[in-house]
């Protein structure tokens, strides 16, 4: 088995529901995020993307299979892994600096050092001038950037990001996406990135994993063979369009299945 990177080995997750029943969220997911690679997960809502990220982050024990990071079985949260959650995870009683520095504070870094470093990262995510504000004074997208900055500041080998740009408008999304790429190109962390946005997935990634409806399997792994560093022009290229249409086609079928299963939509093909 591969010694470096993140290896998902036939991961299956079953939740126990409140009424004592069980719900199979993830059926069988295998894959490798090789060291320094950027992989996007895309799939219909409720298919288990966040669940899978929790498993890789050591927050959730899978019912079947497991995850190996750099040769070590994942049994809990790791120092070399940082997470950005889908929901707001800012601490409302702390300032932006206090929030961003929180991870380092827990890691035992002294106040002066962690706050100085936090201020640098805050500039990087475009929040300069908001250092001493509280989350209630920020927009949803700004709060997500606080969470991204907190994860970046930990300088992890592996970043697990769950729709970090979900609350952003298209333009800001593109802009921050480009910033993220810049940082990533400098640091070459391994990234597992959940998104709903096909263009974003293709633009950022080395590989796009398309997940099926729940209980999920990986339906297809699409290698993105666009040159790096990617420029805004990349999105106008023909290859980019081919790739996005390919993902879109795979995803369309699964989204319909997912909606069908939940009885929200009846479509005739």
């Amino acid at each position: 088995m591969q010694r470096t990177g993140v290896v998902l080995d036939r991961v299956g997750v079953v939740y126990t529901t409140n009424d004592g029943g069980s719900l199979e969220a993830v059926r069988d997911v295998s894959g490798v995020v090789a060291d320094g690679r950027f992989v996007s997960l895309i799939g219909p809502s409720g298919c288990g993307k966040s669940t899978l990220l929790d498993v890789v982050g050591g927050l959730l024990r899978p019912a079947r299979g497991g995850v190996v990071i750099n040769g070590e079985q994942v049994s809990g949260p790791r120092r070399d892994t940082a997470m950005v959650f889908q929901e707001d995870s800012t601490l409302h009683w702390r300032t932006v600096v206090g929030n961003v520095a929180f991870g380092l504070e827990i890691a035992g870094v002294g106040r002066r050092e962690r706050e100085a470093r936090a201020r640098d990262v805050i500039k990087l995510v475009g929040l300069a001038g908001f250092e001493d504000r509280h989350p209630r004074e920020l927009s949803g997208g700004m709060k997500q950037r606080v969470a991204i900055a907190r994860a970046l500041l930990l300088d992890p080998r592996i970043m697990l990001m769950d729709e970090p740009f979900g609350a952003l408008d298209q333009q800001t999304r593109m802009f921050i996406g480009r910033e993220l790429l810049r940082v990533w190109e400098e640091t070459r962390k391994s990234v597992l990135f959940v998104t709903h946005d096909i263009q974003e997935a293709v633009y950022l990634s080395d590989e796009v994993w398309v997940m099926s409806a729940r209980p999920s399997v990986i339906k297809s792994k699409i290698a993105v063979d666009l040159d790096r560093p990617r420029a805004p022009g990349t999105m106008g290229s023909r290859r980019f369009h081919e790739l996005t249409s390919e993902v879109w086609e795979l995803l369309r079928v699964e989204s319909e299945k997912a909606l069908d299963a939940s009885g929200e939509l009846r479509t005739t093909p």
């Binding site: 929790d54 927050l59 949260p77 120092r79 892994t81 929901e87 601490l91 991870g103 827990i106 209630r136």
Partner: protein, 259 residues
Amino acid sequence: MNRTSSGGGTLLLRPPLVRAALVLAVVAVLEAAARGGLVEPLVMPPPSVMFARLVEIVRSGPFVTDLVVTGATVATAFGLGGLVGLMIGILFWRFPFSGAVFEPYLVSMYSMPTIVFYPILLAVFGLGTKPIMIIASTMALIPVALNTMVALRAIPPTLPKLARSLNCTRLQTYRKVLAPAAVPMVVPGLVLGFIYAVIGTIAMEFILASRGLGYRTGFFYRSFEIADMYAYILVISIVAIIVNVGLNYFERRIRRDMQ
């Protein structure tokens, strides 16, 4: 404070001034009614007489003792009830099964006049501070426990998840994430608990004690020293108002600091 004139533009129509004027008007009406013979002196003496007695009483030795005794009882009852309430709230949240089993008891105790249990406590513990303490701290405990439980349950699951992903120790999780997240809802519970501790203590002193503000009020009532009784009622009201203003200030401070 830096408030723009909300409600009532001119200086004279500011709400606090209107409130003060209302109080003065009521006092004036009562004074006129008592002096004019509309109200029996045994029911209510003129306010001016009450105030005169109030000043004398406040300077007297027994009053200071009463105040200290009642204050100490309230503080102990609140300290005890608050602490146990916090622990029960945390317990019910941490072990949802215990919460599901015991929470209805707590809620029904909330609506029950706990004071009716005093004959039982009296039989078990006898006269003195013990039964007072038990009733007052039980009353204080209930809102603290319920608010603490609700506050902890209302914390978005992402926050403990964040704490876990950062490898927080259990202590760090409580101290740096759960406690500050819960504080805005726990503090109002503590404020209510304090008010309940005061009510419980004074009500029990009426029937069970031989010292304290509540006891003294009842004593004057039974010995027909009505002016003195009213003076004590006034003292209790004034102390309660001061404490309440203090607690509200404290609550707002905490909320602001926590934001």
